[in-house]
């Protein structure tokens, strides 16, 4: 386990230590997770399906029983002082689970009541307006589109003015417009001091939104890093050129380039850094032309998350 920096206790709003979870069937969903989330940041939990992202946030929110270890939110233990922790947490789950026969406004008002907050129609109206749901306030949820239902889920999570907001795969199956609105909303919440923790399996999503990124794989937190640092590490891309004729070896004139020959010399692979000022592709193609190497096709590809995980795992061992 990579050692995390321990920030000032006051700045950690969510503090997970030594958290493990084994489900009844024997499946180990989480293995010794240590993580501090700072107050006011946007934290992305990145990992493939089944990595343990949802289990982790479900434990913090009280939906799944804690295994070993402990979790504190705003200095309160999530098991012993669950009232204190849950009343400041909002959760937007991955699945669109709603009471189909309720109206939008009723269901959001219901959520606020569940979290022990006194009625506040003005605030509910604001939430619904912010999420473009005000026109639909008296519609039954079953009449809404999938995107609208997602907005309702968010409105429910915001109904009790949480300090910490969990978004589990917020953009799964979401159209461009809602995605844009959602990011605008997330940024707006952050400006008001709300801490946001989102899970995703898209690197670009983490890249767009997060201040820090935690990578989780097979129940282990592989690393936690500032987004900028991580993107530099992960932002490698590859250019593959299909050559017109196979090469036995790389010509010495191209030795300065990070090149590899594949497919019995018929493919030339160039690895470059997308975060760099210049990728060098233009110069490389120029040099290839000068060396008399022709190509009939080309393709670029980014490291898949899977490859990144494999690389990260290799680095650790």
């Amino acid at each position: 386990m990579q050692t995390m920096q321990q920030p000032e206790p006051a700045s950690a709003i969510v503090s997970v230590s030594g958290l493990s979870k084994t489900y009844a069937g024997g499946f180990k969903a989480l293995k010794d997770i240590n993580l501090d989330i700072r107050r006011g940041e946007i934290f992305a939990l990145l990992g493939p399906n089944g990595a343990g992202k949802t289990t982790l946030i479900s434990i913090v929110c009280g939906i799944v029983n804690l295994g070993e270890g402990s979790v504190c939110v705003a200095g309160h233990d999530v098991v012993r002082e669950f009232r204190a922790t849950r009343s400041i947490i909002g959760l937007v789950p991955q699945e669109l689970t709603t009471d189909a026969f309720e109206t939008v406004r009723d269901t959001v008002t219901f959520s606020r009541g569940l979290f022990g907050k006194p009625k506040n129609p003005a605030y509910i109206e604001k939430v619904l307006r912010d999420l473009a749901l005000w026109d639909k306030r008296d519609n039954k949820i079953l009449t809404l589109s999938g995107g609208m239902k997602r907005r309702v889920m968010i409105a429910k999570a915001l109904s009790h003015e949480p300090e910490v907001l969990f978004l589990d795969e917020p953009t799964a199956g979401v159209d461009v417009e809602l995605r844009r609105d959602m990011w605008a909303m997330v940024r707006g919440l952050r400006e008001h001091g709300v801490t946001i923790i989102l899970t995703t399996h898209y690197i670009d999503e983490a890249e767009e939104m997060a201040d820090r990124v935690g990578v989780i794989h097979k129940g282990e937190l592989i690393l936690v890093e500032e987004k900028r640092t991580l993107m530099q590490k992960l932002g490698k891309k590859q250019l593959t050129l299909q050559l017109t004729g196979p090469l036995q070896a790389l010509p010495p004139g191209l030795a300065a380039w990070d090149l590899e020959l594949h497919g019995d010399g018929s493919e030339l692979v160039y690895t470059y850094d997308t975060q760099a000022e210049r990728t060098g592709i233009t110069a490389l193609l120029h040099d290839l032309g000068a060396a008399g190497i022709g190509f009939k096709d080309l393709a670029t590809r980014q490291n898949s998350l899977e490859e990144i995980f494999v690389n990260l795992l290799r680095e650790r061992t």
Binding site: V64, L114, P118
Partner: protein
């Protein structure tokens, strides 16, 4: 922190709103079926059996009929109330809310019991159209009504948690509650049975409920009212223990 009353209010209100939305199903159908019982048992059969233990047959069956509805309705309301959020997945919100298990039980069971009591009273009113009756011990009557509604709503809550499909949800009310109620003396005094069956019937818990309830109406009982009360309270405690266990272990609720 103190009790989350606002959450109890929210769930209770939600459950009661569900009743209002399904008014036909929740209120009208028990009234209609009870009226049918009165027509069939009270008028058709009652014209042949004139009196049971000094009470006209039509009046005699009222407590049993109310119990029959009370038990089925309490179980189905409470079991559906908690099963449905499990089924559609909205239960996540209850788990993530700052609510203790006691508050969850109080709100669901409270709403289910309220509905049962309302329907029970409606049936009592409907019965007036068909027969004349008196209530000798009205306070006891209300007491039994409340106690039974709460106890069987708790039982329904347990079934709702235990059930992981709609069939299981139906199976207990259909295969256990209804037969026990019919055989528990809703429509007859157990003294009308052959001696052996009188003994066997005593193993049926519903006998005690109906007997106690009928005693509060007419002062007549198959078993002593103390035993009736004891048996009902015993079942209440049993349900509470089961629910405490469910929430302590997270049985079928949390993994």
């Amino acid at each position: 922190m103190s009790l989350n009353l606002s959450a109890i209010r929210a769930i209770y209100g939600f459950e009661m709103a569900r009743t209002r939305r399904t008014l036909m199903q929740s209120i009208a159908s028990p009234v209609i079926s009870t009226s049918l019982y009165f027509v069939v048992f009270g008028s058709a059969i009652g014209s042949r059996i004139t009196e049971v233990q000094g009470v006209s047959y039509g009046a005699f069956i009222i407590p049993g009929l109310i119990m029959l509805t009370l038990l089925t309705l309490s179980v189905s309301n409470a079991s559906f109330g908690i099963y449905f959020p499990k089924f559609v997945g909205t239960i996540y919100e209850l788990h993530s809310a700052p609510m203790s298990y006691i508050e969850i039980v109080v709100s669901f069971v409270g709403a289910a019991a309220t509905k049962s009591v309302i329907v029970g009273l409606i049936i009592l009113g409907t019965a007036r159209i068909f027969v004349d009756y008196e209530i000798v011990h009205p306070l006891w009557m209300v007491g039994f009504l409340l106690l039974t509604s709460i106890t069987f709503s708790l039982f329904g809550f347990i079934i709702g948690i235990w059930a992981d499909n709609f069939e299981k949800l139906q199976v207990v009310p259909l295969l256990v509650i209804t037969p026990l109620t019919f055989l528990g003396g809703s429509f007859y005094s157990i003294h009308m049975l052959p001696p052996l069956w009188q003994k066997i019937t005593l193993a049926n818990p519903v006998v005690y409920l109906i007997s106690g309830f009928r005693w509060s109406f007419y002062g007549i009982a198959d078993v002593s009212v103390g035993i009736s009360l004891g048996a009902t309270l015993g079942f209440l405690v049993l349900c509470l223990v089961a629910i405490a266990w469910i929430f302590r272990t997270g049985y079928k609720l949390k993994s």
